[in-house]
């Protein structure tokens, strides 16, 4: 089955933060000296120019500037990055351009300037509206700053914004989790990302484990929260994502529907399909920012995804969506026939983890909670491929 035209996005990574949070396992670094804004933007430009050649002629449907803290960068710097994107890529007329922002880094009037630079969507890291919880999470901002940032967004006309919230926090109970939701809704976001705090290896919290509520307490927080969000018009469409109608994040949806993306910036990963050669390639950039600065004009590390790995990689993304995926999408994205994935789906169906509706497969309510149990069934039997993956993606 031939690989059909796959939608393309652009991800741009900004690796620095005022202070790295103790739970964060992203490629981010506490900024110790002055921000090397000029040099980093120049490196991004070179990176973009080089990698854009791979996707010549293809339309870009979304851009996501994530981190780290992209809002540490000035509106001028963001404008330069977006100008480079326009120069080297063909952007769709309605391209979605998201900027991640930390409420603690927003000065008055700043969002309007970002908007002028081309940003039309913002993701604001609120996390909680309880000062004690924010402190436990090591956040640099206060609830008051989040409220002000949201007001700024509305004032700037950036009404399409997301609030990141976390739950299952140290010392949090169900009323506390619900209070966070109320305060978030009061700020009238278009989108809410509601994550469970999990302890990831290699983070400060993995070393000094905070005392979290029990699994039961955490699990019991979710249904009332979801009910409240639904009542406010926010429908869940992914494990942790809720949106008003038409306000789903197009960029993330492209990940979850196994679309393509260029990865620009320190530690950025990309995924590119070549319909001509029938291959899917993952790219990665050096993680460490200083080394990235001096190497961004060189080609990224490339690794071809083997056909045996595709069902797993596809399912890992597509089964996160409440509406799942159609068999047609699977074939267009992977080039594989239904036989490559349907036997596994059928087994999961008997276990009540997935269900089907016509040619669409989707996770059940239980399946969404136990997605890992479903996903391991898609892993190829020999972990050999994972070995290869580790080998070449580590810069």
């Amino acid at each position: 089955m031939p690989l059909a035209d796959v939608p393309l996005s652009l991800y741009v990574h900004f690796p620095w933060c005022v202070r790295k949070c103790p739970y964060c396992d992203f490629n981010s670094y506490t900024l110790r000296d002055e921000l090397p804004e000029e040099r980093y933007v120049a490196a991004l430009e070179a990176d973009l120019e080089l990698q854009a050649r791979e996707v010549a002629g293809r339309e870009v449907i979304s851009i996501f500037m994530g981190g780290g803290t992209p809002s540490l960068f000035s509106p001028e710097a963001i404008a330069r990055v977006l100008a480079a994107a326009r120069r080297h890529l063909r952007l769709a007329d309605d391209v979605e351009v998201t900027l991640e922002a930390n409420p603690g880094t927003i000065e008055r009037g700043r969002f309007a300037e970002y908007r002028a630079a081309g940003v039309n969507r913002v993701s604001l890291g609120a996390q909680s509206f309880d000062a004690a919880r924010l402190e436990a999470l090591g956040r640099i901002h206060s609830p008051r700053e989040t409220v002000r940032a949201a007001e700024e967004l509305h004032a700037a006309g950036l009404t399409n914004f997301n609030l990141d919230l976390m739950y299952g926090l140290p010392g949090q109970d169900l009323p506390g989790a619900l209070r966070d939701i109320e305060q978030a809704l009061a700020l009238e976001p278009a989108h809410v990302s509601h994550y469970q705090l999990t302890i990831e290896p290699g983070t400060v919290f993995a070393g000094v484990r905070p005392s979290l509520p029990t699994d039961e307490e955490i699990a019991d927080m979710l249904p009332p929260v979801q009910e409240r969000l639904a009542a406010a018009g926010f429908a869940q469409y992914e494990v942790s994502a809720y949106a008003r109608p038409t306000r789903r994040c197009r960029h993330n949806l492209n990940y979850w529907t196994f679309g393509d993306y260029l990865g620009i910036g320190a530690g950025a990963h990309g995924k590119l399909t070549s319909a001509a050669s029938g291959t899917i390639v993952r790219t990665s950039r050096i993680r460490e920012p200083r080394r990235y600065l001096s190497s961004s004009a060189e080609p990224p590390v490339r690794r071809e995804v083997q056909p045996a790995e595709l069902p797993f990689e596809f399912a890992m993304n597509a089964l996160r969506l409440t509406e799942g995926f159609s068999m047609g999408l699977f074939s267009r994205r992977t080039g594989l026939g239904a036989a490559a994935i349907e036997p596994t789906l059928s087994v999961l169906e008997t276990r009540g983890l997935v269900a089907r509706d016509g040619d669409r497969w989707y996770p059940t309510v239980v399946g969404l909670r136990f997605l890992n149990d479903a996903l391991i069934e898609f892993l190829p039997d020999t972990p050999e491929s994972a070995g290869k993956l580790r080998l070449s993606s580590a810069p």
Binding site: M316, R320, F370, L389
Partner: protein, 598 residues
Amino acid sequence: MRHIRNFSIIAHVDHGKSTLADRLIQLCGGLEAREMQDQVLDSMELERERGITIKAQSVTLYYTARDGERYQLNMIDTPGHVDFSYEVSRSLAACDGALLVVDASQGVEAQSVANCYTAIEQGLEVVPVINKIDLPSADPERVIREIEEIIGIEAKDAVRVSAKTGENVPELLETLIRRIPPPKGDPDAPLQALIIDSWFDNYVGVVSLVRVVNGSLKVGDKIRVMSTGRTYNVDRLGRFTPKSVAERELATGDVGFVIAGIKEIDGAPVGDTITHERRPCESPLPGFKQIKPRVFAGLFPVNSEDYESFRDALAKLRLNDSALHYEPEVSGALGFGFRCGFLGLLHMDIVQERLEREYHLDLVTSAPTVVYEVVRTDGSVAYVDNPAKLPPQNEIEEIREPIIIANILVPPDHVGAVLKLCNEKRGVQKKMQYLGTQVSLQYELPLAEVVLDFFDRLKSVSRGFASFDYEFSHFQKAPLVKLDVLINGDRVDALSIIVHRENAYQRGRELVDKMQELIPRQMFEVAVQAAIGSQIIARATVKPLRKNVLAKCYGGDVTRKRKLLEKQKEGKKRMKQLGQVEIPQEAFLAVLQVGRKS
């Protein structure tokens, strides 16, 4: 014949038997120094690691004594564990004397006592030897008193040696020649050769170690194995020095090996008698027994594809281990496997370890059980080696369990704890004697209780000082019931056990608690119940896992997420799937971990 000495070394594990044997071989020039490997007698890797001898072997040594005469010393090794008491008795039957080796600091232990009595009963001359006199904690005088009080033999002249340094070992050889009598036997009588041990060799088939009691055996002779009546031609004869040396003949009193084209280990059972086809002896030598396995367990490959290689591996082990029994078993819970019979728990451990180590098999074992004699209401008797196969309650007239006689030696300080343990294990005291620094106890104990964890418990309640030996005695009626385990309402055949009615509730409680601990949380609640018939006597619940999903997944590095999931998958692979529930292998042995208050 006057210059032959056939002897064994009786010693407790770790009292230095192998080191002493090595020293004797070295002194008699059996091996050049460069060939000398420590402890040559314990040849199997596993035996070395566990410090025990599993299969008997023999060594023929030549020693020129101070009287100027050259003697042939046949040293016959004996297995050193309670599970192998029959094999020990056959090894001793081939001897005219025995060296009783006792550790100069640890003193007499039950196992040596039992073997020593076996030797005395068979009319062997027992020569006491005090070993490890080089240790600072050595107290030969106390140990000599113990030997006299506990075993009841004269020990004042016991030879004091250090096998490690070689001190006094030459004196030991002289004493041995003086004290142990030469073999008796009639060279002109019809052939009677005792099979001391048999093992399977890939090139020549069965090799049997024999002691020629009467008559003589030559290459080319047509022989008959008396219990089977089958005949063979002797292809090769010889002895181990310890290297194998071919001989034309084994004369009266000799110890050596016979190779006669026997293809199966059952063709030459230990304790059997070999005679000539043309001029047979009237009756076999006394003491031959068909050995019966006493402990049974189901062994199942974790991966069902391994079934065939598992079968092959058992067949290969069986070639050398006539005590190992197996037959196919199908378990609803564990699939296709084999019901295996063993002499005891140690034997079971050894077989299991060899299967895993030498044949690379991943096995799940159901709880070991003893054989019960079940009388049905129609009067028929069945031997049940699998709780799942116990007839329905209403068809059972009575159940009889195997009882053993246990001999325990323990210092007085720990007697109280040992008595309490024996009581708890439903023991009936037969004898209790204070013998100097030790107390000798004799108990009748249900074998099932011993199989469970008696040996470990005995060691722990006595801080390692108690020693123990047992032999099968008889079957005895007892109020026994089958205890079933239900997982989410389904009876799991591999988890059923037969227990004493009085202990049933406590065992059931402990068992479900232990299972609850061992079963990981899953997507749904898992109910573990213990039941007698249709009556549930205990219940525990494994709370459900609430979720198992990555909170975030975007376009970043998939490697780490994949690794995490691969780890989860590996974990699942090591579990057995019972319906929807995943049970780790250890849970099937949980029954071994209950009934002990640690």
